[in-house]
């Protein structure tokens, strides 16, 4: 048992060490992140919970390589992403990361299939192949009937499902979700979160979700509570796969 635990600790997919983010506001310094340490294993569903302004979004952005840390290390799958150039970061995201946005951020000029296929086109996947894959993932999130709908012809829940399919289609190792259910009603929220957990668990992907809602965080395997740039506590809980979905 001890050995197994050791093994698990040896290969975390994400390792955050002593991470700081300091903004200068005039003469004074604001610590958005004030020494954060944690690590995540492959296949974990982790929620970063905290009130507004606690630094949770900053943490997510830095892990996704959208923002540079002031100090500290972020190691993802053995690579230090804080040392990468912007160009390398783009490549890193293209190869390893899926992203789910709060406001879905679908391209309004494209229909559902094209939106899902977009990240594949950045990888140079031929059109026929990527549209096929996009359809497969749209089916997976339950949007068989809305494939040819334009983004603004769909409801919020449907749009977010498209967003999830778009994050999944590249088969990423890590999926970042920034308040993914922030614009959805509670029923849809539940559906979406369960769907995400189910898919991620099945495919052994790591999902990191940022939320301010403790109830939503309850869906995750691991909850990291952040207040004022510091980790307050880390909770772990195990959910059985719900069959009713």
């Amino acid at each position: 048992m001890a050995e197994e635990a050791e093994k698990k600790k040896e290969s975390p997919i994400i390792q955050v060490k002593n991470l700081y983010k300091i903004y200068r506001v005039g003469e004074s310094k604001v610590y958005a992140l004030n020494g954060v340490d944690f690590s995540l294993r492959r296949g974990e569903f982790c929620a970063v919970v905290g009130p507004s302004g606690s630094g949770k979004s900053t943490l997510l952005n830095m892990m996704a390589g959208l923002e540079k840390p002031s100090k500290g290390e972020i190691v993802i799958a053995g690579t230090h992403i804080e040392r990468m150039t912007e160009k390398e970061l783009v490549t890193f995201r293209r190869e390893n990361v899926g992203f789910i946005f709060q406001s879905y951020n679908l391209l309004k000029t494209m229909n559902a299939v094209e939106n899902v296929a977009l990240p594949l086109s950045f990888r140079g996947v031929p059109k026929k192949e990527r549209l096929e894959m996009a359809r497969k993932y749209l089916k997976l999130v339950g949007l068989e009937k809305q494939m040819d709908h334009m983004a603004n012809e769909m409801s919020g829940g449907q749009q977010q499902r498209v967003g999830i399919a778009r994050a999944l289609v590249v088969n990423p190792r890590i999926i970042f979700a920034d308040e993914p259910t922030g614009n959805l009603d509670s029923k849809t929220t539940k559906d979406v979160l369960k769907l995400m957990r189910q898919i991620v668990r099945k495919r052994k992907q790591t999902l990191i979700m940022v939320t301010h809602d403790n109830y939503l965080a309850g869906f995750a395997d691991k909850q990291i509570h952040i207040v004022d740039g510091k980790i307050l506590k880390i909770e772990e809980q195990h959910h059985e796969d719900e069959e009713e979905l």
Partner: protein, 455 residues
Amino acid sequence: MRFLDLLVMSVNNLRRRKLRTALTVLGVIVGTASIVVMMSLGIGMSEMQMELMESYGSMTAINVYCDTYSQPEGSQEPVYMTDEVIEQFRRMDYVDGVSPLLNVGVMMRQGQYTANYVNLVGVTEDYMKQITVGEGRYPKMDGSEVELLFGNMVLQNFSNGKRGSSYYETGELPDVDLMGKPIFVIYDMDAYYQSMNGGTGADGTAVKPPKKYLVPVAGIVAGGENEYNQYSWEVYTDLEALKAQLKKIFKKNPIPGQPTNKKGKPYSYFIYSNAVVYVDSIDHVKEVQTAISDMGFQASSNSEWMEQNKKQSQMTQMVLGGIGAVSLFVAAIGIANTMMMSIYERTKEIGVMKVLGCDMGNIRNMFLMESGFIGLMGGVIGLALSYSLSYLMNHLPAVTQMMMGMGGMDGSISRIPPWLAGAALIFAVVVGMVAGFFPAVKAMKLSALSAIRNE
């Protein structure tokens, strides 16, 4: 990203904003058309000038003069152009051909029509082959017989001997049938006039009217009765045949037009006052001309005149092109403006693409392609517009009449050579891309984070 995907994306982005794209393209259309039309006018003018000059003589020919009357005084041997000198010219570098011009004034007659003075020119084959024959054929060039090639305007010299009416009075061409009936040539005009006036020769006997020679006409220089070219006013024949003929007629007596030595005796060889040297290319004209001048002859060519003209027309073209370029420049600002607007509008979209892993270079290229495409569309339509404007200009009666008024030049005033069309297209695309470059780089450098941040 694949090139095709990038292209489709760019085109779709343009199609999304049809009106704005159309307006920007319109700017490029006007810019391209104004450059092309302006340049085509410049080119048309300079080409017309060239054509005009070419009608005065070949561009690679050097005319050599040797004034036989004003030779240096004193013991110095006169510098004459003889067959020997002509051979020297021929052996020079870059010289393709030489022809001395042996000018003889003669009288011609057919039926009741007489031309009192016709310049008969003996030339070599080098010269003869420059002339375009309209009717008939070239004269024999083997020295055996004098055959005539008539300039297309020589007929105007003939007048009705009895009625004395000439072409200049009546405006009607004399009824001389050059190709059908024979022409009589009187070489010894002095003798003719002396005999007409009952004059006497040196020995006191009455001068007999000179012999008339029946000379066949081989052909007529191409061109109508009013189409001037440099061969219009002369009658040409083979040099060797003419020399043989003159020697036969004048024997030991001085041949009119030929200089005599200090004792007033004719030389035993022919001396030419004019010669034409043909150079292989226009670039060597100056060099050969200098060499000939150094030999003590006066040499002139169209090349100096042309060079001057070239510079002038280049200036004209640059000024005209510059005027056109201003409007293309304005169009370029329009493109840049459109692209900037487009980037502000699509900030979020660009950010999302970047977060999803779209290469920065791809984003830049996408915008460059959009602006390049605007340039291309404007260029193509602008070129089509230029062609139609050019057609209109060349065919509007008012314009052609004005052209005829200005020095009687005819031909198209606006000419769009293929290189201009091609260059205009490429230029339009390049201008589009250059105008789009700054916005494209701006798009590329956009911070993904601030772009996706919820407002």
